[in-house]
Structures are given as structure tokens and as C-alpha cells.
Amino acid sequence: MSDDGVEHEIHASRAERWPDWLPLATLVVGLALTAALALASAAQYRSNEQRLLRLRVHDAATLFTAALPEIQTSLGSAAELASATNGDVRRFRRYVAPLVGTKPGQSFVTMSLWQRSRISRGPVTVVGAAPELSTKAAAAFFAGATRGGTLNVTGLLHAPAPRIGYAYAAPAPAGGYIVYAASAIPPNHKSPVQSNSAFAGLDFALYLGRSQRPRDLLLTSVNSLPLKGRHAAAVVPFGDTSLTLVLSARHPLAGTLPQRLPWIIAIVGTFVTLAFSLIAARLATRRRDAERLAGENRRLYAEQRGIAQTLQHALLPQELPAIDGLELSARYAPGVDGVDVGGDWYDVIPLGRERVLVVVGDVSGRGLPAATTMAALRYAIRGYAAQDDPPATILTKLSDLVSVSRDGQLATVLCAVMNVDRREITVTSAGHLPPLLISGGDAEYIKSDVGLPVGVETDHAYSSATVTVAPGATFLAFTDGLVERRDESITDGLARLRGAALEQDGDLPELLERLVRGSHRDAAEDDIAILGLRWPSSTRS
């Protein structure tokens, strides 16, 4: 009897395992992705805002240059008039009077006529406020106006009130007269922003020239400079100089959603990442628990199976007796689940010098009740055999030990008495499957009357049948696990076994091993006990 019966394998696939680092990896990757997305979104938002701001600053700056032709026309006409009338003060004053004042449409706070050759003597005439130009300043202001026909933006005056001055000299040869005009700049250079203007929602600072020095500041919408936050600047030509407009947005130009999007992404991404990490952590924990339980089950199963097999080994013969002139072998294979002891057994009992009683039996049911009944039957048979009881008597007496009415158990038992020298087999069956006899290339089941299983009736009489076999014959007794399949008639199972036995021609242990393995091909669920005897081919020496 060997231990290499059918092993019940439990596969633990490593591929299905959840790695322990998965939750942490989910967290790290998720947060990294969230951060990357949020940063990308923020960068996109910034570049978009900057682009929009640049568009706005160009649009707004153009508005300022649009004022230039009007100023140029006003000053140019006045200068042409002065030249044409040779400095007619009255006509000059009458022409410019509507342009000077503080009413809407009046652009200038002061206009004055100067004679180029007599700048040092001051203006020829002044309309409106005093020009507030010292002789020195006037000379400096008008130095650039030597070339006639262009508007010269002469610069900023800071006292007594901020002004911006313009000068226009009539083109030569009529030249000689210069018209100076100045527009007021609000105190502190502060200009409120109209909500419907091009500057709605924006802060701006407008400088004369290309620099953004505070002393060049014309107008601004804020109380203190420089402008805070994101800003864009545009430089546009303004007469013979330039204007520099700096804008900053008070609110996001593309609306608040793009501004908030990075934060939304960051918050939502963090929550989603945390959620996934928690789920992954829970799954990993569950997985671990399941694996632990599975391991525990495997251990318990193996233990149970070990106990069952140990008990089975203990209940079956430790070794078969050596019989002179007869080869003996036996196999026991637990069923697929193998966690219960079974009720199958075999035994070999020498009877005197030349006879051997061979027993194979099967107690119905499984577990300890079946195993204890089996043990009782096995040892009872040994006892009765020692009293020289024939098999038919033994089987009848066994009914004292098993009762289907009392225990719900019955047992099928096959007793075969071998006369070794005469090669005679006497078979007595209590509801058991017939033994197989393989001899001379043929195999047949030994026919005998089949009596009731043990435990059915107390006083059943059994009958025996005797056959004589040829040298080299092999006798196989077995339990139903070897031939029984649920989807097949027992007749077919017996025929299959017969066919399988004929195909084998190895030694006896090998034959039993192959028959057991062959029957297990479709996962036999029942235990198998099989006992084989073989006479030597040649006559005993």
C-alpha cells in the first residue's frame, strides 16, 4: 500500500493576487496625475489670460491714438490760419475759442499762438488758462516743432496742474507761427474707468513715451503704481512720440471657470484618488483575508485528510502476509475529497498450510461510523476464520455486527478461499461485486450466487462457487469505487475494468496501480480497495 493515491490539488493562482503596494501606488500616481493636470490647467489659464490681455491692451491703446487726428486738425488749422493772416490775433482767438474750455467736446484748457522768432517774448496771444510755459521751457518744447506740418507732443507739465502739451508749426515757407495747446490731466492722474468703456474690468496706466517712469504717467485707474498682478503693455505712436499703455485685469478675462478649474481639478482629483486608494486598500485587505482563510482551509483540509488517511492505514493490514507460491498485492485509494475515512477494506488471512482466505468488503456510508463498522467486521472475520468457520457461516455470523434497521448500515463482503497448491478458488459473496480472473490472455468474472449484503437479514444462508485456475492466473477482488460511475451502468463499469485488465501485462503491483489510476481518470468520488493474487506461471518447485 503506498501513499501516492489521488491527490486533491488546490490551485492558488499567484496571478490573481493583489499586490500590497497597489493602494499606495494608486495614491501616488493619482495625486501626481492630479497635480500635473491642475498645473497644466493653471498654465493654460495663465497663457490664455495673457493672450486675452494683450488683445485688450492693443485695442485700448488704439483708442488713444484715435484722439490724435482731432488734436492735429485743431492745432493745424489754427496754425495755418495764423500763417495765412500773418498772425491776426483776433481771427485766431475767434477760431480757437470754441475748442478751449471744460465743457464736453472742448479738448484743451489753453491754446496760445507763438511766433517762432520771438519765443523768448512769450506767446502772441493766449486763449483759456495761462500756458504756464517759462521761456526756457517753451524753447525746449518748441525745439522739436521746427519741422512744420506735424503734431509735436511736447510733453508733460506737472505744475500747477498736470497737463499735456502739443505744439504745431505750420509748414514752411508760411511757417513762423506755432500753436501751443494743452489738455488737462485729472489731478493725481486718476481717471475713473467707465463700466461700459474699453477698460471695463481692467486697471490701466498710460505713460507718455516708451518708458513706464512715474514722471511720464498720464493717466491711471489705480491709486498706487505699478499695477499689480498680471499685466500687458502696448506702445502705440502718438504724434512724434508714443504712448505706452499698461493693463492689468481685475477679474479673469475668460470668466471665473478657467480660473477655478485648476483648483476644481486638484480637489476632485484628490478626492477621487483617495477614494480609489481606499477601495484598493479594502480590496487588498479582503484579498489578504481571503488568502489567509484559504490557507487556513487548506491546512485544515490537509490535516483532516491526513487524519483520515492515517486512520484508514491503521484499520487496513499494515503488510500482507507472505504466502508461499502466491504473489499478493493490494492498493487502497481514497476518493476525491478524501477527508473522510471510508468503509472499504481488504484482508488476507492464512488458513493452515495451503489455504488462504481473501476478503474484500465495503461498508455503506462514510466517516467514523463506516470505519468502525469496517474494523469490527474485519476483525470478526479474522476471529471466525480462526475458528475454522467456512465463509458462508462467517458471513451469516457477521449480521450480529451490522444491522441496516439498527444502524442504517449494510456491508457487501466477498470471501474467497484460495487453495494455493490445487489452484482452487471458492467464492462466497454477500452482495459484493464479482472478482475478476485473468488467465491465458482472457479475463472473466467469477460467477457465483450473490447473497444478501451483511446487515440485511440475520439468518441468510450463503452459497459458494469453486473454480480451478491455470498457472499464471491473476485474481482481482475490488470494491465498487473501481468500477462505479454515476453516468454508467455497473455492467459497463465491469466491462471497462475487464478491458483495462487485459491491456496490462506488467507485474502485479503495476497492474493494480494502473487499474486504480485508470478508474480515477474522471475524478472518482468513492474510495477504492483492490486486492490481487497471482499464481506463478510455472509449477511450484
Binding site: D362, S364, G365, R366, V404, S405, G408, Q409, L410, T412, S429, A430, G431, H432, L433, P434, D449, V450, G451, L452, P453, G455, V456, E457, D480, R486, D487, E488, S489, I490, T491, D526
Partner: protein, 101 residues
């Protein structure tokens, strides 16, 4: 777990008839016992098992029938499959359990 089902009815003669279907083995034997228990309480003289749809019966199931056969005067197996008939014959039980037809 093998597929199994048992149903207890009483025919016009007042005899308990148990329809047994599927596979009867050591795991399903308690189910059959539970279904038949009420009928056995009345100490009937006859018990009919309709086994026409029983695909398989192992020794535990057969042991149960044999036990019942001792309890009642007559246990009848109605329409056993050739497979079941051969098993019972192989066990020498055809004389204890009446099989019809």
C-alpha cells in the same frame, strides 16, 4: 452537492408514494429520510418508491431502502432504471426489494 429531490404523495389506495429524483448518495440520504419520515410514523404496511427518475443510488441509499423494507411489510421500487436494477441484483437484493415492473 448532487442534484436531488423527493416528494411524498398518497395514492387512491392510501399507500404512501415517494417520487425520488436525481442522485441519492450519502449527502442526499438525509433529505429522503426527512421526506419519508411522516409516512413511516403511521406504521404503514406498504411503501412505494417511484425511482423512475433516479439516476444513481449509492450503498447508503440502498441501505436506507433495505432498512425501510424491514420496517414495512412491502417496499416496492417503481420503474427502476436498468442501471439501478443491475446494482440491486449485483448486491443480491432483488429478493428483498420488490421491483415493478
Amino acid at each position: 452537492m448532487a442534484e436531488f429531490n423527493a416528494e411524498l404523495t398518497t395514492n387512491e389506495n392510501g399507500t404512501a408514494v415517494v417520487a425520488v429524483r436525481g442522485e441519492l448518495d450519502i449527502q442526499t440520504v438525509p433529505q429522503l429520510e426527512a421526506v419519508v419520515a411522516p409516512a413511516l410514523e403511521a406504521n404503514p404496511t406498504r411503501l412505494v418508491l417511484d425511482v423512475s427518475e433516479l439516476r444513481f443510488a449509492d450503498s447508503s441509499g440502498i441501505a436506507l431502502w433495505v432498512r425501510w423494507a424491514a420496517q414495512v411489510d412491502e417496499l416496492e421500487l417503481l420503474r427502476p432504471s436498468p442501471l439501478l436494477r443491475r446494482v440491486l441484483t449485483a448486491m443480491g437484493l432483488e429478493q428483498k426489494l420488490r421491483m415493478t415492473p
